[in-house]
Amino acid sequence: MAIIDPRHAARQLVYERIFRWATLSAAVLVLLILGGVAISLIYGAWPALAHFGFRFVTREIWNPVTDQYGALGPIFGTVVTSTIAMLLAVPAGFGIALFLTELCPPLLKRPIGVAVELLAAVPSIIFGIWGLFVLAPVLQRHVQPWLIAHVGVLPGVGALFKGPPFGIGILTAGIVLAIMVLPFIAATTRDVFDTVPAMLKESGYGLGATTWEVIWNVVVPHSRVGIVGGIMLGLGRALGETMAVTFVIGNAHRISASLLAPGTTISSAIANEFTEAVGDLYTSSLIALGLLLFLITFAVIAAAQAMLLRLERRGASAA
């Protein structure tokens, strides 16, 4: 038994306290950052909110000349582009996850999985520049004229596809967003599919079910919470995505029924106008838009995390 040097032991205790304190304060700092974001946004948005009150979120007007601002246009654009993105990306992401877990030859599983994850790593500005110079012209020349000529004449849905083919606009922004959130939805859905016990699936196959029937009746019910969590995480991304949308949406503060018309979203309005905003009310209105975006995405992401957490706990208790 070695004799412990009391001074050494005391020093160790000091280091221990310092280290413990450092890790604790780093953890608390994370909370402070989120609190700081909320407080600074409320502080910055206050002049606009005090001036316009509740009308800020119900009016479509956005006029820097007369200093009148309403967030309805950007809110509308954000909701519509995200809806288009989810309508396209959810089935596709589900398909990719299905392919990776059930159909893919083992040899290709990793390369394709990595390729999908790399798509998630591509920065949003690259999607923007690609969307503007490659996707938009293709849509303008080939897809939109067809939509206008064939779908635009139908009663009801036709209203969504009227007007000249700009190339850029709400629809293009939605498609670019769909490509961006696709890898997130595919990756989470795949991970959730992987948590389904093999025995459950094999029982299904043993009863003579086809692959699709096993997926739809065994895998999906078992992983429902996780899938919804993954979709909402993707939705959180789509709602807050800035640069890609800024390139292709056309930046017009108005609400049109046609998906082919240019529009604006909360984040693209901020990105476009913030550095050029003169006057306190203008800047404050843009920060108020940021506050709205923060509240919306916080609610969506928090709900998604809560769902995924619930799934994790259930998985842990089952194991």
């Binding site: 280091y15 221990e16 310092i18 280290f19 413990r20 450092a22 890790t23 780093a26 953890a27 608390v28 700092l29 994370v30 909370l31 700081g36 974001v37 600074s40 946004l41 910055g44 089935p91 589900f94 398909g95 990719i96 299905l98 392919f99 159909l103 394709i112 990595v114 390729a115 999908v116 994850e117 790399l118 790593a121 591509v122 920065p123 949003s124 500005i125 520049i129 690609w130 110079f133 490659v134 490509i179 086809t210 692959t211 699709w212 029937e213 995480l233 959180g236 709602l239 807050g240 800035t242 640069m243 390139f247 984040s267 920060i287 975006l293 923060f294 995405t297 916080f298 992401i301 928090a302």
Partner: protein, 284 residues
């Protein structure tokens, strides 16, 4: 009999659709990379790395933007990653199972997916407004705020993978937790933590939105952290939307550069994870 055939047809249709979805996903990645290469290579030359960003209509390079991006990403990582690693250590070691750790983990996951433009507004409010001017340090801080959740998450996950026996052995030798963490846990989780750093660098080096109203942009060579600084993403944004052919060609070259850098970082991170997995299996 016909019911059986119908089930088989339905199965075939949905499986075919899932293959089509995968092909579309891969085609998007291929199309983006192909466009970047075809448009970007023509702008690639030694001048990209030796000359400053040009005035409208002129020709030049991206030297100041590349330097600015490297500096702000570097400073952002230097500030953000120690905080992320320490906080991750708290969650995995000291705070394990505590209420505070649960809350921090939840908030961190929210920050991980929060829109980056919000972070830009936050730094603008607390720093740019106070200092009354845009600055590189504000840009670096915005990037640091984005890097923290990434490093925190990977650090916690990787520390949790270290076998409990190693920690117990160290404690049995009389080491305090801080000594155990520094001398046993961090080395054991080293490649995992480095992976987190690589992912964080990859994430922040392409961020544009938070730099728009923190670091802004600068057409000239500037090494001052206290003033506006050029950076690749904002230069790409500005040049791509301009009507000048030279600017657009520089934007494509910059886009190619940044994508190559990020893909290399992401692939390196994946290789590190793959290299880590066998030891993970043995540890259990």
């Amino acid at each position: 009999m016909s019911r059986r055939i119908w089930r088989k047809i339905k199965n075939g249709i949905f499986l075919a659709l899932s293959c089509v979805a995968t092909l579309i996903g891969l085609a998007c990645l291929a199309a983006i990379l192909w466009t970047l290469i075809t448009h970007g290579v023509s702008g690639m030359s030694h001048r990209l790395f030796t000359e400053m960003t040009p005035p409208p209509g002129g020709s030049g390079g991206l030297l100041n933007a590349i330097y600015g991006s490297a500096v702000m990403t570097g400073v952002g990582i230097l500030i953000g990653s120690p905080i992320g690693v320490l906080a991750g250590t708290y969650l995995a070691e000291y705070g394990r199972g505590s209420k505070l750790a649960t809350v921090v983990r939840f908030i961190n996951d929210v920050l991980l997916s929060a829109p980056s433009i919000i972070v830009g507004l936050f730094i603008y409010e607390i720093l740019v407004v106070r200092m009354r001017h845009f600055s590189a340090i504000a840009g670096a801080l915005a990037l640091a705020v984005i890097a923290i959740p990434v490093t925190l998450r990977t650090t916690e996950d990787m520390l949790n993978l270290v076998p409990a026996g190693m920690k117990d052995s160290s404690a049995a030798l009389g080491a305090y937790p801080w000594r155990t963490t520094l001398s046993v846990l961090y080395p054991a989780a080293r490649s995992g933590i480095v992976t987190g750093l690589l992912l964080a660098i990859a994430r922040i080096s392409g961020e544009t939105a938070p730099l728009l109203f923190t670091a802004l942009n600068n057409q000239f060579w500037s090494t001052s952290l206290n003033g506006p600084m050029a950076n690749l993403p904002v230069v790409i944004f500005q040049f791509a939307l301009s009507p000048y052919k030279d600017w657009q060609s520089l934007a494509w070259a910059g886009a190619l550069l940044i994508t190559i850098a990020i893909l290399i970082l992401s692939i390196a991170a994946r290789i590190l994870i793959a290299y880590l997995s066998p030891s993970r299996g043995a540890g259990r």
